[in-house]
């Protein structure tokens, strides 16, 4: 399957080409190039998927294929970075997801970003991002993954900061990069520890031969914990950074400063699931070597899911609502991995997590794109500027509704199936986690429909005089349905969302690679549907027509409300740490120390010499007799010294 190499090469080429020509070509040309390339890639990935999954299994599992693998940089005889392509169920699945979404986003952007300054730059960055993401998922070894991990980080930095004249965008981009960079540091440390003990970077060795390679590290501990636990914890922190797990989630909401399609691509569908993908990659290692870390993943995930869901309920910027819902959904996947067992029906969680990753990518992208077309229409992110839009933009309305139902977990939409699996897996692990997750699911349904109603229903839309807000194109006061280029992706994704649930996902992807039969756990299923419907009804009552209930509630739980709407002041905490502690309490003193202590010492030598020189000038008195006197003293002194010693 050598042709898979094209999947990596093409976007890189289009990045280089678009990057170099910059604004020398017509925007349309650049856009077309980018889109066409993506189209080809999508086709290729579908073909890959088809070919891969239509191969019959060896010993009941899909085998790992490595069609391409070259040595890029050699450290020691064991440790060397290879660049290659690893095909196994999850990577193929990711290929499909990524190419599909970014293809959609490319089409969508053709009209959404139409007339923006730096259109070519935008498409160049999109290609770069796609390249990095694809390279990440097909990585054959940790270091290749780390390389593309960093590239992903940078391209997201560039995309978030696309409107580089806008200070808030620049700040958001910087924040995103530094937070993820901070997490990557732990990732790197984890890699180093792991490779030090296992003497390899290679995934297939690490996961397949985990019994033998970890023999060397048996019993090795550092500060009381097993070294491998440290390593895997570090790697998980890396993943948590990208996947915005608590407490590293702070960058994601700000990242919404980027153009909306970018949010759809990066911060909904692809990049943020990199962390989940990473943990899934290492799943056998986590499961067999460091179960305690795996459980840690579950707990952190559960907390994040709840935490984000609560915040999402009170946000008023629609993109931020979606951002928090993303955090919470990613957390669902993490939990699923954390609670999963390994083989057979034990492996529900793993399968569910991947399944949810797949379905979530589709409907979350759909949601973002829908939000995008709304914003495109009303030039604002704020709920208060919206309402009653269903009359003006039917397609967006219907597709958005489908997505909401899917994420809320209403059958027959895709979300139901994947989420249901996750819940049942959590219940098998522990009722508490299960309970938390169910509650989070309920909140999900609630805030999504709050969002939906306040956009499309609620008060009627007031036609404003001047358009203001997010990205101005200045035209049209009356909101209108989006053009085809924007509508098509919505419809397409909606279609996928409707049918995706019926894909026999377990037959393709499972923890062992062996076939796995999805079975709906009736109790859990019914309960979750009921819970979801109830919260939808509540939302309907509160938001379908403008009522006073929301404000009343806000009053009664004012503490919670304020906290939630300020995201529980986490950003302030971070600000305090970075600004006050690191900048003012470390850097500034250091800089001062350097100038006024160390440097001063160096200058001190010089000044002392000068001072001495001034002090002793009296010796040169100009009196010849004194000269003779000193002369004589010198003579006698020398004599005395020599005679004594």
């Amino acid at each position: 399957m050598q042709y898979t190499l094209l999947i990596l090469v093409l976007p890189l080429l289009s990045f280089i080409v678009l990057g170099l020509v910059d604004s020398k070509w017509k925007p349309k040309v650049a856009g077309t190039i980018g889109t066409v390339v993506l189209g080809i890639i999508t086709a290729l990935s579908y073909y890959t998927a088809w070919e891969y999954f239509s191969m019959h299994r060896v010993a009941g599992v899909y085998e790992k294929l490595i069609p391409y693998n070259i040595e890029w940089l050699r450290f020691t005889e064991f440790l060397h970075i290879n660049l290659g392509i690893l095909l196994d169920p999850i990577s193929v699945m990711m290929l499909v997801v990524i190419s599909t979404i970014s293809f959609m986003v490319n089409i969508y952007s053709l009209s959404y970003m139409h007339g923006e300054k730096g259109f070519e730059r935008y498409y160049a960055f999109l290609s770069l991002f796609t390249f990095s993401m694809l390279g990440l998922v097909v990585a054959t070894n940790i270091f290749q993954m780390y390389i593309f991990w960093e590239l992903v980080g940078v391209s997201s930095y560039l995309l978030i900061g696309f409107y580089y004249t806008k200070p808030s965008a620049v700040a958001a981009a910087k924040k995103a990069f530094i937070v993820t960079r901070f997490a990557d540091m732990f990732f790197l440390i984890g890699i180093l520890i792991l490779s030090f003990y296992t003497k390899t970077f290679d995934f297939s060795i690490l996961t397949a031969e985990h019994t033998t390679v970890f023999a060397g590290s048996a019993g090795a501990t550092f500060l009381g914990f097993g070294v491998i636990s440290w390593a895997m914890a570090g790697i998980f922190i890396g993943g948590a950074g990208k996947s915005a797990m608590f407490p590293l989630q702070i960058w994601l909401p700000d990242a919404m400063e980027g153009p909306t399609p970018v949010s759809a691509l990066i911060h909904a569908a692809t990049m943020v699931v990199a962390g989940v993908f990473l943990v899934a990659r290492f799943f056998p290692v986590y499961y067999f070597q460091t179960p305690e870390v795996l459980h840690g993943v579950a707990y952190i995930g559960a907390f994040t899911a709840l935490f984000a869901a609560v915040i999402a309920c009170v946000q008023t910027d629609i993109k931020r609502v979606l951002a928090f819902s993303t955090i919470s959904q990613i957390a669902f996947m993490m939990v699923a991995l954390g609670v999963s067992g390994y083989d057979g029906q034990e492996g529900t969680g793993y399968m569910a997590s991947m399944f949810h990753l797949f379905t979530h990518a589709m409907f979350k992208a759909l949601l973002f794109l829908g939000a995008g077309s709304v914003i495109h229409a009303v030039h604002s992110n704020e709920m208060k500027d919206m309402g009653g839009l269903r009359k003006y933009m039917p397609i967006t309305n219907w597709t958005f509704l489908i997505a909401c139902l899917a994420i809320a977990g209403i059958p027959p939409f895709s979300g139901f199936f994947s989420k249901d699996e996750i819940l049942s897996a959590s219940y098998e692990f522990s009722p508490y986690i299960g309970g938390i997750m169910t509650f989070a699911a309920a909140l999900t349904a609630f805030y999504m429909f709050r969002l939906y109603y306040s956009i499309f229903w609620g008060k009627d839309y007031i036609i404003k005089a001047a358009a203001h807000g997010h990205d101005d194109h200045g035209h049209g006061h009356t909101p209108h349905e989006s053009p085809f280029a924007m509508a098509f992706p919505l419809v397409f994704l909606a279609g996928v969302t409707c049918v995706a649930g019926f894909i026999p996902f377990g037959e393709f992807v499972s923890s062992t690679g062996a076939e796995y039969h999805i079975h709906i756990n009736p109790t859990v299923a019914i309960m979750s549907v009921v819970v979801a419907s109830v919260s939808i009804i509540i939302a309907t009552l509160m938001y379908r027509k403008p009522t006073a209930t929301p404000d009343k509630l806000a009053k009664t739980f004012s503490g919670l409300y304020k906290g939630a709407s300020n995201r529980f002041y986490l950003d302030e905490v971070y600000m305090f740490i970075t600004k006050k502690i690191i900048f003012n309490s470390v850097s500034r003193p250091l800089a001062w120390f350097d100038r006024h202590v160390i440097d001063a010492t160096m200058d001190g030598f010089a000044n002392t010499t000068q001072w001495v020189s001034v002090k002793i000038k009296g010796f040169q008195s100009g009196q010849v007799q004194q000269y003779a006197y000193v002369f004589l003293l010198g003579t006698l002194l020398i004599t005395a010294i020599v005679l004594i010693f």
Binding site: L73, K174, A591
Partner: protein, 493 residues
């Protein structure tokens, strides 16, 4: 006389050419041809080196030539190169070349400027090709002195102070160094000052205990070893563009190279015994420099401190005393040389336009100077270790290598050093965000013109080099790795 001496000869000829040339055109012609010749020559050398190695020539040094110079002191004029020298020669040629174009329109006294510039490059080239302690030291000092006038006459800001400080502190370094060299020579009882000869002998350990620290610190001063780094901010801040490029790009590498080639290679026992102490110092400079850089507001100071941090990493890796880390150290020299040169070139060009280096007084330059802006971002990304740019390769090699050390102390220290990559990201993004992005601070900046052809030429050359190392590291790392082996052999002895 063997053809390596061309590296010294060509700049000498440049100097003569400059003596006779009197119009700016002629001067430019002379230096441009000279620099390009050096570029080509280093390319040829690299090619020949690979050929030789491929032919199975396993000697430590290739193309060696040895002429007795001062028989009474066994001083020979002996040259030779291994992979590391080749890498350094390439680096030097690139930077000399780009430096020439970066100071294409230098004013006043272009003739004198390039005279000193050529003398400087004589020193640097000579240092890298010579295998004799005396000639090495001589070239080292030749490289130090032109700095004073270059900074003093063509510099900016507190140039007299900066120049004097830089010269004197580096002179102090060479004072330590000279004692160390004499100690090595007489301690080993060698009948020649040729490094390869001395390496065969064994210096008694109790002597090494004295002379290793002297030699290492002597070179360390030039390598910006904490706490002897303070010349770097003032010196670089006041130096003219090309000089900052050459100094931060190549001269600071003399420190690392010398520490590697002389201190460690000739006194391995003491190195093993004392490395822990210097490791702590270098570890400090890595983190300390990065933190200090966060708070600066002058572009050149920021870059100077980041150089302290990056060069600290070089010495740090050398002291890890294992082949991967040492390979990484040399790679880091290359990569830091290129990117810091790029930084200084860009800073110089921006300063030439905005007439300020304070990040508080700039903003939104990306819109006005797209070329310089993009290049600056690339330089920044290289410096914070983005894959496919040189910085990543070097740092990763260093970290992986250092982490292979069996001793926990070293591994923990490595982790401490790793934190620097985050801090680096912080200050790089701070600068980029402040000066390139956001709104335009100063209305006068609105109608600045973007880079001219010669500026573009020098910048693009550097960027290409950075990419070449970053995206295809295997050849250069192999080149270096083979030449690290002898030193490892010494350590194993």
């Amino acid at each position: 006389m063997n053809f390596l001496s061309l590296f010294v000869l060509i700049p000498a000829l440049m100097m003569m050419g400059l003596f006779v040339s009197n119009s700016r055109k002629q001067i430019q012609f002379v230096v441009a041809t000279g620099a390009s010749l050096l570029m080509i020559l280093s390319g040829i050398i690299t090619y020949m080196y690979f050929i030789e190695r491929a032919a199975g020539n396993a000697a430590t040094m290739l193309f060696t030539a040895d002429t007795v110079w001062y028989a009474p002191f066994n001083i020979h004029y002996s040259v030779g190169i291994d992979g590391i020298s080749v890498a350094m020669l390439l680096l030097t040629s690139v930077i000399v070349f780009t430096g020439v174009f970066a100071s294409w329109k230098i004013d006043p006294l272009p003739k004198e400027f390039f005279l000193w510039y050529s003398l400087l490059s004589i020193g640097v080239y000579g240092f890298f090709i010579s295998t004799d302690l005396f000639t090495m030291f001589m070239y080292y000092e030749i490289a130090l002195i032109p700095m004073y006038l270059l900074i003093g006459v063509w510099g900016s800001g507190r140039k007299e102070y900066g120049a004097m400080k830089l010269t004197l502190m580096l002179m102090g370094g060479s004072a330590l160094l000279l004692v160390g060299i004499l100690g090595i020579y007489y301690g080993s009882g060698a009948t020649s000052m040729n490094i390869l000869e001395i390496a065969k002998l064994h210096i008694p350990i109790e002597l090494q205990r004295y002379f290793f620290p002297l030699t290492f610190m002597g070179f360390g001063v030039l390598g910006a070893l904490f706490p002897f780094h303070t010349w770097s901010p003032d010196g670089h801040a006041s130096a003219p563009t090309a000089v900052s490029m050459l100094h931060a790009g190549v001269l600071m590498k003399l420190g690392g190279y010398g520490a590697f080639r002389v201190a460690i290679y000739l006194m391995p026992d003491a190195a093993k015994e004392m490395s822990w102490f210097f490791l702590i110092l270098t570890g400090i400079s890595v983190v300390y420099g990065a933190f200090a850089a966060i708070r600066q507001t002058d572009l050149k100071y920021i870059n100077a401190y980041s150089s302290v941090s990056h060069c600290g990493l070089v010495l740090f890796a050398i002291l890890m005393l294992n082949e991967t880390a040492m390979t990484g150290a040399i790679l880091q020299m290359l990569s830091h040389g290129l990117m810091t040169a790029l930084f200084f070139a860009l800073i110089g060009m921006i300063y030439g336009r905005t007439h300020t280096r304070l990040i508080t007084e700039m903003g939104g330059l990306m819109k006005i100077l797209p070329f310089l802006g993009v290049s600056y971002v690339i330089a920044g990304l290289a410096s914070l270790g983005l894959p496919s740019l040189s910085g990543f390769v070097a740092e990763m090699t260093i970290f992986v290598g250092s982490f292979q050390h069996t001793d926990t102390f070293h591994r923990v220290l490595t982790i401490v050093a790793i934190t620097s990559i985050v801090i680096t990201a912080v200050y790089i993004l701070r600068v980029v965000g402040k000066i390139l992005f956001g709104a335009v601070q100063d209305a006068h900046h609105e109608h600045l013109t973007d880079a001219t052809w010669y500026e573009r030429l020098s910048v693009v050359t550097l960027i290409i080099a950075i990419f070449a190392i970053g995206s295809a590291p295997f050849w250069i790392s192999g080149l270096i790795h083979d030449s690290v082996i002898p030193v490892i052999g010494q350590l194993a002895k």
